[in-house]
């Protein structure tokens, strides 16, 4: 029996042999894969893209059968493709996982409210349960109020710290111990580059891990798209006609990250494999063991303003808890509580351009709302 090539329903006229897909040799190639410059057709692209994600999941043992997994869903391209693909692969390869969409409402009018509408549609389209956790219910502040108080320049600092915690808290609320996010290869390469440029060596080693978990934290995080190019994710969403939201956040992105991203894109234009190459370099870097710091004299005991005393600490202890909220923290008070305290006292370090009246008004409204007779 002779081999019949797969049919192409819309066979374009006059396709040159050089334009054919390098995998099936039957259909016209539509994509040049940035990873290896291979020319592939739409159907072969779906197949290789899905298979590569599946291989990443299996070879890194990301999932355990019966596990409940929360997809950090923003409504953007990455998380939308992630939710769609996980559902597809879970059914195709019987991972036996239970997928839930978990969204964070930062409280940014004109941005997050629109993207949350997308997530709500995804919930119906993919038939997955959805949970939304808001900054407002967790911290009593929305991002809009924070920006009004602390200025737009530091918005990403607040938002980043709060979102990380919010995802954990959202997952804990649902009894889920595994959060997957849509971070892709471009994001990771960008982070490696930023950490190198900033000399942030402590973060450099951790930044390429596909799965992270702090000891003492019940929640692990993983990035199944670690090796997936942004370009391919966008193309996948485009060809599959997935419903995603694409608007830049109202508050401009961190200037430094923006510059690093542009640098990456320019590098990619010259040498597409550089994204995966940067990740590979990041993975292979090993830091020299730190020189042991001279231990502080044991008689040194800090007396705090409330009269309590600090016990001498054994350097950095993973698994410490914040004294205020109980969230995992390497310090006595976690970063989120520190930022919140700053906001509350309206003495966040950017107090120069803060607007006291807005802060006061927001606080007052909240206080009034809570009053009962």
């Amino acid at each position: 029996m002779s081999h019949t090539p797969p049919l192409d329903p819309k066979k374009p006229k006059n396709v040159k042999v050089s334009q054919l897909c390098e995998l099936c040799h039957a259909r016209k190639a539509l994509i040049k894969r940035p990873k290896n410059l291979q020319k592939v057709c739409k159907l072969c692209f779906f197949h290789v893209f899905e298979t590569e994600i599946h291989n990443t999941i299996v070879s890194n043992k990301l999932f355990v059968e019966g596990e409940k997994v929360a997809v950090g869903a923003s409504g953007g391209k990455d998380s939308t493709v992630l939710a769609y693909l996980l559902k597809l692969l879970n059914e195709r390869h019987n991972y036996g996982i239970h997928i839930v969409l978990l969204s964070i409402d930062e409280g940014i009018v004109g941005y997050r409210d629109d993207s949350l509408a997308t997530v709500k549609r995804n919930k119906e389209q993919y038939n997955l349960p959805l949970e939304i956790v808001s900054y407002r219910e967790l911290y009593d502040w929305t991002m809009d109020e924070i920006v009004a108080c602390a200025g737009v320049r530091n918005s990403c600092t607040y938002c980043g710290v709060f979102r990380r915690q919010a995802l954990d808290r959202g997952a804990a609320k649902l009894g889920i111990k595994h959060v997957v996010t849509g971070h892709n290869a471009d994001d990771m390469a960008e982070t490696v580059l930023m950490n190198i440029l900033r000399g942030d060596v402590a973060r450099l080693e951790k930044s390429t891990a596909i799965m992270t978990q702090s000891s003492g934290s019940p929640i692990k995080r993983s990035k199944p798209f670690k090796y997936a190019y942004q370009k391919e994710i966008v193309l996948y969403a485009h060809y599959k006609k997935l419903d995603y939201f694409s608007t830049e956040c109202t508050y401009a992105p961190e200037a430094f990250r923006g510059t690093a991203r542009e640098l990456m894109k320019n590098l990619e234009a010259v040498r597409p494999s550089c994204i995966i190459d940067i990740i590979h370099s990041g993975e292979s870097l090993r830091l020299l063991p730190k020189k042991a710091k001279r231990a502080p004299p044991t008689s040194h005991v800090e007396v705090r303003s409330d009269g309590s005393i600090s016990l001498p600490r054994q350097g950095f202890v993973d698994g410490n808890r914040c004294e205020r909220c109980g969230y995992l923290s390497s310090n006595k008070i976690c970063k989120a509580c520190m930022l919140l305290e700053g906001l509350q006292q309206n003495r966040a370090k950017m107090a120069i351009d803060s607007d006291v009246s807005v802060h006061g008004a927001a606080k007052l409204t909240r206080t009034l709302e809570k009053l009962t007779f």
């Binding site: 391209k77 694409s246 894109k265």
Partner: protein
């Protein structure tokens, strides 16, 4: 003169009056063939209202890195990029991949 459909996706529509799809009649320069290069020049000159927005779309005389260009759903890298000769009814889409995920 060639009539084509142009799409601005992934948030790019912001600099085109928030309209994602545009039907265009691209005139040819002194009887030459209309290429994607001609189309890009046309878009930059005629369609971007705010001169400050040009750098969002164009860089070094070509589409900015990070914007995905598809000609009839095919990556323009496979179609000769700016050299591709447009035909009536072609669909050219520009998708920004730079926004967050």
């Amino acid at each position: 003169m060639v009539s084509v459909k142009v799409e601005f996706l992934g948030g790019l529509d912001v600099i085109f009056g928030k309209q994602r799809t545009h039907k265009l009649n691209v005139p040819s320069n002194s009887g030459e063939e209309v290429t994607v290069g001609t189309l890009i020049d046309y878009i930059v000159e005629k369609m971007i209202k705010n001169a400050g927005d040009k750098c969002v779309f164009i860089e070094n005389d070509s589409v900015r890195p990070g914007i995905l260009t598809l000609i009839n759903d095919t990556d323009w890298e496979l179609e000769g990029e700016k050299e591709y000769v447009l035909e009536d009814g072609d669909i050219v889409s520009f998708t920004s991949t730079l926004h967050g995920g």
